[in-house]
Symmetry: C2
Subunit: 240 residues, 2 copies
């Protein structure tokens, strides 16, 4: 499985994904699930993926191929699309087409193949937006009321986000909330694993700052230990 | 949906269940999901249920019917079974038979019907035990390493249990952990709802102490608010 979370704050976007993939329980690998399409200062698009690796990899490859084609235009290339809504539409259509083809290929084996994505970004002069794209290609968008979107193993890490994330949360606090949400998921679910990819996109910067957090990263381990200790302290203090 | 959690501590058992049932999203009701079969001082058996209401209600009704039959014996009545293992076996068999019949009845509609149960208790002179019974009737048991079992919407409330519950956790702390685990679930998932049923069975007492926690219960609301405040405080203190 996977856990990816995207937060849309007044100050910008924060995106976090794990890297574990598994086919069954005995075939575990590390694959990046966060992809950037960037022309710094002009356009930044980040895609996070969850689901069948064949679907997500082929979808990303096709999006890249469509960008590189000489006849690429605003209806086919996410680097030429006029708006983030158009970007989400192109990605949704590509995802749906790819998924349907692979499901058809797998029909004889009665195997499922599906995927969903979180897409966030901004084009210079346009609005910063964050979408969750369903396997069928339709999508929803983060709003003031619900400023975060999750895909994959979303339940373990939802309570902390429900409690602390608001549109006016700072980018620093948003990164912390995303990392604590991931920490809860890592602890409780084996199918989500380090390393992590953490991306921050400041509003109107149209460029991404990306950090890979490796297994055993001292800052992440310290935060995780401090959070565990704080939770246990809180547990002692609360009375019933 | 449902959330039920059972904890097996050195001092005894703690069991907690919600009461919300839903058929779709627009047909929501309140049903008790915690059942007691008790002969105080001699035997206490508690069953918590998750899944299709027709399966769980019929299973409980059949278990009661088997107890009341004049020819009831240790192989059919959970109030006469010699050990908690035999109790779990009788419940598992009854659940599996009931589920299969109802699935057969629903076949034309292509509807699913399934259920799982947590069974905890003790018979005087025997060991205190806690089981999770699967829809097929097989079961697993809580151990020193994994002293809690959950059914239903278990993911939201797992991180706090993973962090604080050990076999030597006191009964008071275990109740608090179960209630905080439930609180996280209630906040993040609409299909789990108040009131709650909380049961404590002290080791070797062979009797249950049960409390219904109603919507708006002042102690529970205070705990929930204190926990939220403590989490937010902890969030501020932790640095990354």
């Amino acid at each position: 499985m996977t856990y990816c979370v995207g937060l849309k704050l007044n100050e910008g976007l924060v995106l976090l994904s794990d890297t574990r993939t598994n086919a069954g329980l005995d075939n575990i690998s590390t694959y990046r699930k966060m992809f950037f399409f960037e022309k710094p200062g002009e356009r930044i698009i980040t895609i996070m993926t969850a689901g069948s690796l064949s679907v997500t990899q082929t979808t990303i490859a096709r999006l890249q191929e469509a960008i590189d084609l000489p006849e690429a235009d605003e209806t086919t290339s996410i680097m030429r699309a006029q708006t983030m809504l158009q970007v989400a539409t192109i990605i949704g259509n590509t995802l749906n087409r790819t998924r349907r083809e692979i499901v058809e290929q797998c029909r004889e084996l009665n195997q499922q193949a599906s995927a969903s994505m979180i897409v966030g970004g901004q084009r210079a002069g346009g609005e910063m937006r964050l979408f969750l794209i369903y396997p069928e290609g339709n999508f929803i968008e983060a709003t003031e009321d619900t400023p975060f979107l999750q895909i994959g193993e979303h339940k373990y890490g939802k309570p902390i986000l429900d409690r602390v994330v608001r549109p006016d949360t700072s980018l620093d606090d948003a990164q912390k909330a995303a990392l604590l949400s991931m920490d809860s998921t890592l602890r409780s679910n084996l199918s989500v694993g380090m390393p992590l990819d953490l991306a921050v996109i400041r509003k109107d910067d149209c460029r991404v700052s990306h950090r890979r957090i490796a297994e055993g990263d001292p800052a992440f381990m310290a935060m995780s230990a401090a959070w565990s200790a704080a939770l246990r302290d809180s547990f002692v203090k609360v009375t019933i």
